[in-house]
Symmetry: D2
Subunit: 337 residues, 4 copies
């Protein structure tokens, strides 16, 4: 933390800062510039709340310099984190493609989709068993039954299962069936859930909140990692802006930013970000071209009768077409698919 | 729902829309304008997902016309909802003032603050027992012990207790001690929690999420009300914008907007919105002047040593000063304090 | 400028920074903390572009510490700027009320409005002669004729005229008729216009841009002040956010923020911010209660037939009612009206 | 325009609406649903301000249905606009690459850059002669001298010149030297400038404003087109959001959205959007992969000594590398480079 004093602040104000720092266990390192005097807080502890210093007399600005995350930072670990689950790898040379329906609706539905994906060479299957819906009258998901279907189908095709866990109480259940536990955008700062996920030994796919900064996303990853679980997959899925032409604004530039700040893999969810089927392919291509480690995408054998988010689900043949396009882009970014 | 066709759309496209509407249980009401043909969907059901129609050929735009909330709307109930708890009233002629520390720290702390508030004439005491903190190393709240302290002190001064419930599993515990259960901004769309709160018989204070629209706030209120609990207090606490000079941007204009759309009382939390003590009084005055039904505000007997959010807590004497200012503004908006 | 190095950066990287600073005319002041080494750039010049340093090896973050504005800052001038024009004062004990139609439409219209205002005791008349309209087919203003009407009516009632200047080429014309030249939100960063306004000897009313930060607003004020004109009135008029219930989100908290950072008077335009007549009164009261130095407001003798922005214009009697409410709030914030 | 009445609105209110519509020259087309009655305004004129209707009794919502732009819409012209200038084509099968320094600094500088570009096969040269700078002390551009250098160099290599026009008074000058006149983001709603550009016979490159919606961008294009100039190139260059990790958030999804709404070519400026050199290549690749018609990009022979925006300028060899990557992506989106 650096405390920048206003020009010509009297010595007394500087003394006050020094003393407050001491009571908090810090040493003050004072550096007098021509315009501003800057006081550095030196010491091992971190300060929860630098606003306290902002309110003191003579203070112009208080600047945090140690980033709030450590385990998630590339400074801490320069090489990329590569996550291996069953036969799937995320964060390596190969682009990770996760696909499946918004919600698990039936065993038959999953069978059709999984078989199609398997034929394409896709080995990661997504599908929601618990659906948080805006309306209490909407389809709420099949629950454990849905998880069982996922497992049955995944076992048949040797696929990796990605599914969302909605609250701490569901973790044990999910651990029985799911390979990668997903945290939804609305739960990105559900700190209780994050803490519990730090103690499990399966990877976590952490979605960025609608109004979360990149730094906050990395802090949420840190929350999980602090518990011991280092296998975190970050996921950009659009932020809320003033533009209403798309449901959210997919922040593609978050990809190179995160690649620089963190060693964790970062994938993109173009389905939820745009909310419309015909925008999914262009944004998937953009994500991979920008250097993302993969995508997670909603597909459906019959989008028109889907119980959930049909309008943003690709038809199976559209998925195949997109998959082939991504194959064309992969070598440009020195990846394979 | 209204479906606006592009100019010169062929009859065939219009027919397709009609048929899809029928399969969804609607009647189509077609009105041919000079430029656009508009198809109205008439019928009792609501449509989850109008995007499906947006993707059909010839469609220019799909417009939702029935608002997503009903019980919360002023159309449904023209007169204001007035909530009575113990001796406190929210939504009536009297401005509601809720005050107290960010977190319950000790019985002694609560005693000092409650006595001071009681002397001012304030009868609603807030205080957090469970604290969701960004860092896992920060003070996490006293839990049930904190709730007990709140009850002990509130009983002594005949005060109403407002405290936050973090997840469904805490509802039963909170019901034993708390008079008004608060839902935090991060939980505004925790639909499972909202649903459970619909079944209790105590008022709920529902905070607007950081990136939630006013319509979404009212939809979350609807979620609770659908369960039977009609005593909802809405709370504006700042939205996330590009401006970084304040922690969030307090949306004061949400007050007259909500007053027009809904019969529910709306209060304002200037402490969390601004994050800085010296902005709390101006924004409290602004809220009351704009027609808010009350404020909820953080105060502390010793902000400098507070375990949580000291920088945004008012000193006790600052609170008294603000309280007197609000008394001056009240008659202008035809209220009392 | 402070350059924060990544933990464990080699000496070589630090040397490189030092040398680059030297070539730019700075001295490097190095302070080695336990985690980060921080390099302060000491010297009289300012650096246009600190991103250059951000791209150097080993650099974690570059922090600007001298604020970009000087003349506009309260550090430079602790006491409030009080602006006197004719009989009007802005920034003093009295709340400034500027009112009038969106556009000057005719001499008769102005006469009715000015007489009414004068009877209320309001001495500052606004009205647009040049109207920037979204559609090329909309009413574009009366031009110089409108300015003449303004002057004729203002002379009769001894009122101060506020009117917008759209580009540098209109300054000379406006100087003949107008007392306070207004810069619209879209022109807040029209640097050429700002520069020219620095050389005139009449006050400038500078509106905050839709997506401008408070710091940028103060930098634009600085641009004018650098030319010699110190009489700048700042005006908050709403920022663009994700919320669509109001045209813009009026940032009331900007008032106390600006009051702390700058000595310049700050007024509020609730008409353009909300865009709807029934929100104007609540937001005007909120602005004054939060400590604004005044308001500028659109009124019309016949809003229903107004040629411009009728929907956000108050009826004359609504204005009177609001004026009386503001009189009630003024003493609470130690002001008069 | 559709006027949606509140449920159970009395006939009297509906009558009032009908009458107001008549006085405005519209016919009312009433359609009575089970919940809401909807009144359609039928007739040839457009309504400037639908807020007037929003304020009437019984009105729930007023919905605009004719889009505000016509000439720019794909409904009006289904096939893509292809713009040809000298040997350059924008909007056709070939991806358009515009490159050059932020500001023209000297003839030598331009020579080096143009020769390099020409060797790469790039035939469109950008460079600013008039620079709007935040600080009055920064380099303001070479003015006409800069334009002369551009022309001299472009003639030598048979290149097309793209340069910014800052205000109407500069149009004549620019017409002498420049092939494509650029309108900067801050001028996107400078309606006077737009109008004048409607009368020239050279293409206009129109940049999206920082806080402009896609619809507003298309309306600004319409403004120019209404004057007769149909050769408009749209340019996405980032929008302002709450995220501060990049200067702006490049809205890549605007590309497929605009492609659907309009027939005009859309290119992307990754240099200004991100503000940092190392983000330019990933975002350029993303833009092309998402279907953009081209990019405009800042390069410099010596970014470290550039007089303007050096930190976001690519080194010449970095540009070559990026150019080759784009060549790899082009066939995936059925384009050439």
């Amino acid at each position: 933390m650096l405390i920048v004093m206003k020009p010509n602040s009297p010595e007394e104000y500087i003394k006050n800062i020094e003393e407050l720092l001491k009571t908090k266990g810090f040493m003050a390192h004072i550096s007098r510039g021509e315009i501003n005097t800057v006081i550095g807080a030196v010491g091992g502890k971190t300060i929860d709340d630098r606003r306290e210093f902002e309110l003191m007399q003579g203070v112009q600005e208080v600047i945090k310099i140690s980033s709030s995350y450590k385990l998630a930072s590339r400074t801490f670990q320069p090489e990329n984190t590569v996550i291996k689950v069953k036969d799937s790898v995320i964060g390596g040379d190969k682009i990770a493609v996760i696909a499946g329906p918004c919600a698990v609706e039936s065993l038959e539905q999953l069978e059709i989709i999984a078989e199609y994906l398997n034929n394409c060479g896709v080995k990661m299957l997504r599908g929601g068993a618990f659906k948080p819906r805006t309306s209490p009258y909407s389809f709420q998901g099949l629950g454990e039954e849905g998880l069982k279907y996922l497992k049955q189908v995944a076992d048949k095709y040797n696929m990796t299962i990605v599914s969302e866990v909605m609250e701490s109480s569901q973790i044990d259940l999910c651990m029985k069936y799911v390979d990668i536990l997903q945290v939804g955008a609305r739960n990105m700062q559900n700190f209780n859930l994050l803490k519990q996920l730090g103690y499990i030994d399966k990877p976590v796919l952490l979605k960025r909140g609608l109004s979360a900064t990149i730094e906050e996303l990395l802090m949420s990853a840190e929350y999980i990692m602090a518990g011991g679980n280092r296998n975190i997959i970050l996921c950009e899925r659009g932020i809320r802006t003033f533009e209403t032409a798309t449901r959210n604004t997919l922040d593609i530039s978050a990809i190179p930013v995160i690649k620089k700040l963190s060693h964790l893999p970062i994938i993109v969810d173009p389905s939820h970000a745009t909310g419309l089927r015909d925008k999914v392919a262009p944004m998937s291509r953009a994500a991979i071209a920008a250097g993302a480690d993969g995508i997670t995408i909603e597909i459906h054998n019959s989008p028109d009768t889907a119980l959930c988010d049909g309008a943003q689900s690709l038809y199976l043949n559209q998925f195949k077409e997109l998959y082939d396009e991504l194959k064309g882009i992969a070598p440009v970014v020195k990846r394979e698919l």
